[in-house]
Symmetry: C3
């Protein structure tokens, strides 16, 4: 069986944000299956990482900005702001589509895993996800 639902996230500031609880609260999970989360944007992303210490998420922002700096003279796609082109590349690095196993009616992530919304724009607005569940 397939069920599908659009989820609109609240607006988040630039950075990495835990959204596992928000996502789970919007879904009716089957006993066994797979959840695919797909973000419909090209300057944000989804990833899974450490869910406990906020310093991890702060360092993620620092490291990604170091990897893909703004205002490099080589960039040609600059009309939409200095944070735009780096956001596109960061989005492809972390990805826009996550598939997570469901077991015993819960997302079967590790103890320390949580779902991150990666907001790469300074002002990204609300982001929309498609959640598709196979069971």
């Amino acid at each position: 069986m397939i069920t599908q639902k659009q989820i609109s996230l609240p607006e988040f500031s630039r950075g990495f944000h835990l959204i596992s609880d928000f996502i789970e609260s919007h879904l009716d999970l089957p006993d066994v299956g797979l959840l695919n989360l797909f973000i419909k944007h090209t300057s944000a992303g989804l990833t899974i990482n450490e869910n406990a210490d906020p310093s991890v998420r702060a360092d993620f922002e620092t490291i990604m900005n170091t990897l893909i700096p703004e205002n490099m003279p080589e960039y040609t796609h600059t009309l939409e702001g200095s944070d735009d082109m780096p956001s596109h590349v960061k989005s492809s690095i972390v990805g826009c589509s996550l598939t997570i196993p469901i077991t015993n009616g819960r997302l079967n992530m590790g103890t320390w895993q949580g779902i991150y919304l990666c907001e790469f724009r300074n002002v990204g607005g609300r982001r929309n996800l498609i959640a598709t569940i196979y069971s």
Copy 2:
């Protein structure tokens, strides 16, 4: 229901190329489901990003080449050419497998999202994908 199909892409030059229309034209999409696209190569990749302005795709090539430069003295896997080892790493950074929701018989991507073939080799040849659809 599962359907599966191999799709052979035309040969592309090194760089990032929009293949959404080509892919959709080869598939018979169900009303609701998921499409998995898997590229059977280790020096190319698949990602989703901005579908409108070609300067985004040009900057992707520049940025990825800056991230993973050719001819670094530390590389030991050099027999297949200076573009080979960087291509392998770039492939793992963007990924080889994409899962996209299908809604109302269409790929449910955002307005600005398109599927990119990422050709990391100077001469990569034709690339083969496996498209698997669950509905």
Copy 3:
């Protein structure tokens, strides 16, 4: 039909390791379908890359360490060791979830593709995967 299984990997040293045969030996693959592999950890990852020449895997380790160096003064999440925070970022770069097509009862990867366990910690211990098969 969905089947799901937890697979515990043997402990691997820091680096990139081919686990395709190990994974396949633990699964009963259907004729046609999809395999999702999900690693339940935030300092290791899964990717698909070149399966033949060990120098590729050695260079992967070199390049990832160059991209995300240890002991950068900007890092704030340092309590768990200098290899911890870089491991988290590397994990999100390669990803924790892989979806692979199954055709004729085999993983339908390219001739040169293999599944890598990416162990980013100096001492990561045994890693657990969830394998979910749709057919």
